[in-house]
Symmetry: C2
Subunit: 187 residues, 2 copies
Amino acid sequence: MLYPNNIKKTTHKPISYANRGMALESLLNETNEYYNEKNMALIFKKPTPIGISEAVYTNHGRIIKNGYFKAQSTLDYNGIYKGHYVEFEAKETQSKTSFPLSNFHEHQLKYIRRVLNHGGICFVILKMNQFIYFLKGEDLVFFLDHYNRKSIPYSYIQEHGIVIKEAYQPSIDYLKVIDEEYLKGDL
Amino acid sequence: MLYPNNIKKTTHKPISYANRGMALESLLNETNEYYNEKNMALIFKKPTPIGISEAVYTNHGRIIKNGYFKAQSTLDYNGIYKGHYVEFEAKETQSKTSFPLSNFHEHQLKYIRRVLNHGGICFVILKMNQFIYFLKGEDLVFFLDHYNRKSIPYSYIQEHGIVIKEAYQPSIDYLKVIDEEYLKGDL
C-alpha cells in the first residue's frame, strides 16, 4: 500500500500523470468500457434518473420538453464480476484535509450498509489530493459507527484506502483491488 | 409447475385477478419496492437513459429543455439477492401464439448470455395470454441456439416457463422462483 505523505505545495507544474485532468467519472466510464470489451466484468454507471414535466410526440418518437434531474437513491455503478455483485460510488473532493460526508446523501450511506449485508462488494472510489483511493464500504461503515464526525480525515483514508494508480488501459483498475482484497481465496 | 393449457375463449368477463390491468412494469416496481422494504433483496429498475440536446440552468438547478430516450443497452432490472447478482427484463405481448423475439434488441439477447457466463441469475418475466411466466435466461439461450425462428412458440414458453401467480403483496413473487430454481442447494 502506498502512503502519499510527501506531497509538497509547489508553484511548478506538477508531473504529468496519465489522463490528468479527466474527470473521475470519465475515467471510470472508460475503465468499465474496457472491462466490458475484454469481457472481464459487466459493470456500468446507472443512468441519471430524470423526472419529466412535459413531453411531446414527434416523428422521431417521444421527446422531453421539460425534464429535471433526480437524485440517485442507490450508488452510481453496479454490475457483476466473477459471479459477485459489485456496487460503488465515485467521489472527488478539493479538500486536502478531510472528505466531507455531505458528499453522500444520507440514504446512500444506509444503502452501502445494506449492499454489504446482502453479500455484495461495495466501495467508494475517492479522488483526493491527486490520488485515487479504493475505500471499502466496510471501512466507511466502521468510520460512521465509531466516529461522530461530519468528514473523514485524510489520515483515515490514507490508512484504510488502497491507492489505485492511474494507468493507460484500464484507467482505474479497481478489479485488481477486488481480486486482492476480496477474492484472494477464490481459485 | 403449472401448465395453463385449458384456456377457453369466452365472451363472458374473465375471473378477476389481483391487480388486473395494471401494467407489468408497475407490478414489478411494486414488487421490488416490497422486497426493498422487507430488506429481502435490492433489485430495481434502471432509469431510462436520456440524451440531452438542450439544457438550461435555473434557480432550481439544471433543467432539460430538449431530451430524447435512448435504448437500454443492458436489461431493465438488476440487483442483489442472497449474495447473487440478478438481472432481468420484463416483456408483454398481445400475441397468443408466439412471443416475437423482435421484442428484444439484438444486443440484449447477447447480453443475457454474458450475464449467465459471468455467473449471474438472468431471466425474463413474460406476460402472455394473461399469464406471467418466469423464463430462465438459459432456456431463452437454448431456444436461440437450437431454433432458427423469429418468435418463441407459446408451447415452448408453457413447457419451460414457470407461472407466477399475481398476488397482493408482492404482486409478482419472482424471488420465490429464484429460491426454487436456483438456490435449492443453498443453506
